[in-house]
């Protein structure tokens, strides 16, 4: 795995890597990918891709309302709040 790929994956995951870490992660990720790539040796012609390992489908619930958390509890784990909203650093709405 190239260093540039490691940096890209780190950026997507919002991880800040020290220069020394980039090399070691590149090696480790390469090892992991090679390990997983062994699966490609398995003959899968004519086998439907599996969507879920459980083998079940249609786990559904009826459209019934359950209780919400109190606001104070909803906000309890937030690094910052003003008692009503979660407060975060200023963002540009690009979403």
């Amino acid at each position: 795995m190239e260093q540039s790929e490691v940096l890209r994956v780190a950026r997507l995951a919002r991880l800040k890597l020290a220069d020394s870490e980039v090399d070691s992660y590149a090696r480790q990720l390469t090892d992991i990918l090679q390990y997983v790539e062994q699966l490609e040796e398995v003959q899968t012609d004519g086998v439907e891709p599996m969507a879920h390992p459980g083998g079940v489908t249609n786990v559904l619930r009826d459209d019934v309302v359950t209780e919400s958390l109190p606001v104070a509890e909803a906000l309890a784990n937030a690094p910052r709040s003003d008692g009503r909203y979660f407060v975060v650093p200023a963002i540009l709405d690009a979403g």
Partner: protein, 499 residues
Amino acid sequence: MDHQLIVGLEVHVQLLTQSKLFSGCINRFNPDEPNSQTDPVTLGLPGTLPVLNRRAVDLSIRTGLALNCEIAPFTRWDRKQYYYPDLPKAYQISQYDLPIAADGWLEFVADEETGERRRVRLIRAHLEEDAGKNLHDDSGRGGESRVDLNRCGTPLLEIVTQPDLRSAADSRKFLEELRLLLSYLEVSDCNMQEGSLRCDANVNLKVTTDDGHEVATPIAEIKNLNSFRGVEAAIEYEEQRQLEEWQRTGLKMGDVGGEKETRGWDADRGITFSQRGKEEAADYRYFPDPDLPPLTVSAEWLEEVRATLCEPPADRRERLQAAWALSAYDASVIIDRGRRLADYFEEVARLCGDGKQAANWVTQEVLRIMNDRGIEIGDFPISAPVLGTLLERIVSDAITVRSARTVFADLLEQAEGSQPVTVDDVDRVIDAKGLRKVEDTGQLEAAADAVLARNAKIADDVRGGKTNAVGPLIGQVMKEVRGADARAVRELLLKKING
């Protein structure tokens, strides 16, 4: 040089469920009490598991069928990863390569005069969860943002069109027809101001150069348009901007720097502006969500949902014109005000047997009062059977239109006094006010003759040109013949006096 505008829309529709897509947390627009509608699933707390809302699937299938889509017999759920404060899990559960509905179309009326319809093909409609809402500090740089997660997890259907639209006006008309259809289907309240219907527009131009070459300009995706006017204005602006940009730079789709760009719409300034750098195209790293088993839709389930479909507004508009001899304008006024008003009109028309009469009353009296009071037809105090019965009395020549207005006003007043108005009240008021037309013209003639004989002086005055002097005589005739039509009596008297 010539150019052609090319537009495709992505429409996000919040579904009208009681609870959210993957938990029992209440689904309700409630910006005044931020973060009061969350639960561990909504907050993405560790150890929680999503469970799919059956109703959201029903409404998605209903929409897909009404949009002439194929409903996928097998779909699954994918994680779309991105970091944003309005999405606490850091991924959105969505449908990537197996949307619940695909390959549909919807037609809109492009030309109201001719009724010409244009068809827009739909690529897909997939079900996903909505994110929360970020509120930004407008004071300037260095501020902070606030996050309300009430909306987070609301079922959202994303409908994606082919780039089949060719003008800003057509784009708006298409979106209006789509909204009307969705509201007829009762799958969403489609309130653009509250964000239950939101639209992104993908816009670019096909430019034909003077030497006959065709080139495409880079695509701009204009995000989060939240009004019909905004959709039309933003696309109009973008058409002009891209034309000027192309003339200035010659940059084409596919060139370096010609990648797709995300733009916002500033309604106050009437401009679009670049939001996301072209170089950092989103990379969502979709993969199947292991927390959710796949969904299969059986033929029986499909038929069950199909039975809940209603006549599409476009078809109903045409049928009203044909069945009730309505003008295109009247039919549109009735249809565009929503399914309940269309139902109301049709019941009134059936009961009185005269579509034109029913349309006159519904588009004038009924809509005027609804607009004055800011109410919908469900809260209108005169029910369809009552109005239908009243209008039947006009159609069968039992009362005049003028008398019917009097009865109508009387019934409204009765409803004001919180006395529910029933069908029986129609004839009761007609008789109490003596408004039933006298069909026996002989009786009317005799009364007129008698009154004229008693008032020779007034008759002379009228004959001498003081036409208004006839007034008191009309009153006398009507006193003798209850239910006589004042206008008819006036005409009869004038005819007799003036020979």
